[in-house]
Homo-oligomer: 138 residues x 2
DNA sequence: TATAGAGCTTATAGTTAGTATAAGGTCAAG
DNA sequence: CTTGACCTTATACTAACTATAAGCTCTATA
């Protein structure tokens, strides 16, 4: 199949497929006489694997790692667990940081002080003043 | 003060200060005879404003917007509210997406199947198999 | 047969918010 | 007089694409 069909089958942009090839995630496929890339089923499976990983937020470098294990069935899969575990920790940290940020933003938003700034002048904007002097709560 | 002192006072790298200048967030300051940048208190205040915004995850383009209102005290501050509100919505969406991702990752992790793959061979790795075929739960 | 449109090819630049590196000028202290 | 800290500029790199340009190939239709 040509790159367009592979793209359709996997929900991937053709440019992204070529990008993965340049990054070494996808092998350079055979070419037809007119220099078009031709893909086989194994390419589609590999690409789906990559896209599933991306859907989990796994980085391309880490996906390269995973592909190595996928390519060597006899290898130990211990590192796969390690990789996923550290990814989980990372995602959890991100969530906590964003929750923190959200509560700070909500506090900042409450500084709007519409009551004492009825004309809505920037000079008396409680939000701008807060950003000027310090972060809320600190 | 020179750039190094400004950097120390605001907890910003000197390169970042120059970067903000190039991006138009910080004005080009006066230069001494030896071509060193010289900053005043108003520069320090502006930079702190920027850093506080960055601490809230606000993008540089949005900070440029906020600085415009900061520079025009008579202007309406309505857009400030709008900007912060949309940022809050955005952060909330990110949190929800990451929570979704986390639960998917946890499910993936449970596919490890140590029991039926005691040697830990990649060929029987439940995680790799799951990534191969589909995302967990879908 | 000419041409329009879809699809393929490559290369390059832009996105975010810096960070890293190189190569060089300035200043104070030892 | 040289060492070290500090300043200057410019360029390239990060992640994972996306956008753009310029050009080739194939098929269908006028």
């Amino acid at each position: 199949m040509k790159i367009g069909e592979l793209a359709r089958l996997t929900g991937t942009e053709t440019v992204t497929i070529r990008f993965y090839e340049k990054r070494g995630l996808m092998p350079a496929p055979a070419r037809t006489g007119n220099n078009y890339r031709t893909y086989l089923d194994e390419h589609r499976e590999r690409l789906l694997f990559i896209r599933h990983c991306r859907g989990m937020g796994i980085k391309l470098d880490e996906i390269s790692e995973l592909l190595k294990y996928r390519d060597q069935p006899q290898a130990s899969c211990e590192m796969v667990n390690v990789l996923i575990d550290s990814h989980i920790v990372q995602v959890h940290k991100q969530i906590e940081e964003l929750q923190n940020l959200e509560s700070q933003l909500l506090q900042l938003r409450h500084r709007c002080n519409q009551s004492i700034n009825p004309r809505g002048q920037a000079a008396r904007c409680g939000i701008l003043q807060t950003l000027e002097n310090h972060l809320p709560d600190t």
